[in-house]
């Protein structure tokens, strides 16, 4: 039962271009969405989050878009840099105010930035 789906196992983008990572979810109770980046042999690192009351959140080169009606979110990275090469996980939480609930993760998308 995949409540959070990242359908692209990998994505290759040229340096300087825009990277767009997609995520779909099925559980309408999810209210918070987060993106994590993971390098090999390291734990996931928090990148950016968005609440369901917003449709966009921006932090530097990273922007997350949420389309609640389509149950779809995306992470845009502009411009893409070599250090962005990593696995990106989409995650969701169903508790509007609580961090005590666990996150539900997607399987991840391996982003490869080519020079």
């Amino acid at each position: 039962d995949q409540q959070v789906k990242q359908n692209s196992p990998s994505l290759s983008v040229q340096e300087g271009r825009i990277s767009i990572l997609n995520c779909d979810y099925t559980n309408s109770m999810f209210d918070y969405f987060l993106w994590y980046k993971k390098y090999p042999a390291e734990g996931p690192t928090f990148l950016i989050s968005i609440s369901s009351i917003k449709d966009k959140n921006e932090d530097g080169r990273f922007t997350v878009f949420l389309n609640k009606s389509a149950k779809h979110l995306s992470l845009h990275i502009v411009p893409s840099q070599p250090g962005d090469s990593a696995v990106y996980f989409c995650a969701a939480s169903g508790n509007p105010g609580g961090g005590a609930d666990g996150l539900t993760f997607g399987k991840g998308t391996h982003l490869i930035i080519q020079p």
Binding site: A41, G43, S49, G99, A100, T104
Partner: protein, 115 residues
Amino acid sequence: EPEVTQTPSHQVTQMGQEVILRCVPISNHLYFYWYRQILGQKVEFLVSFYNNEISEKSEIFDDRFSVERPDGSNFTLKIRSTKLEDSAMYFCASSEWVSTNYGYTFGSGTRLTVV
């Protein structure tokens, strides 16, 4: 920058034995978590811990699993009667706030291999 520290980085144990995975969360954080990632699969929530008790646990966290905060700084995950399918990367995480807006800080993980 504050880190979540996990030891050991790699643990090999025989099936049926008990293992203890150790974590030192960030000192002012109040919420603690264990997640695991079986090779090639998604990151899965195991348990959350707040105010010296379990807040939530997943189906994976059966009665062989237990968590403890023995001394106010360490946060441990104990697995009794280990099974081959317990082999995974185990991540500890902590957060300061209850809201998931701020994400969690993950440790680098402990690779558990059950043989």
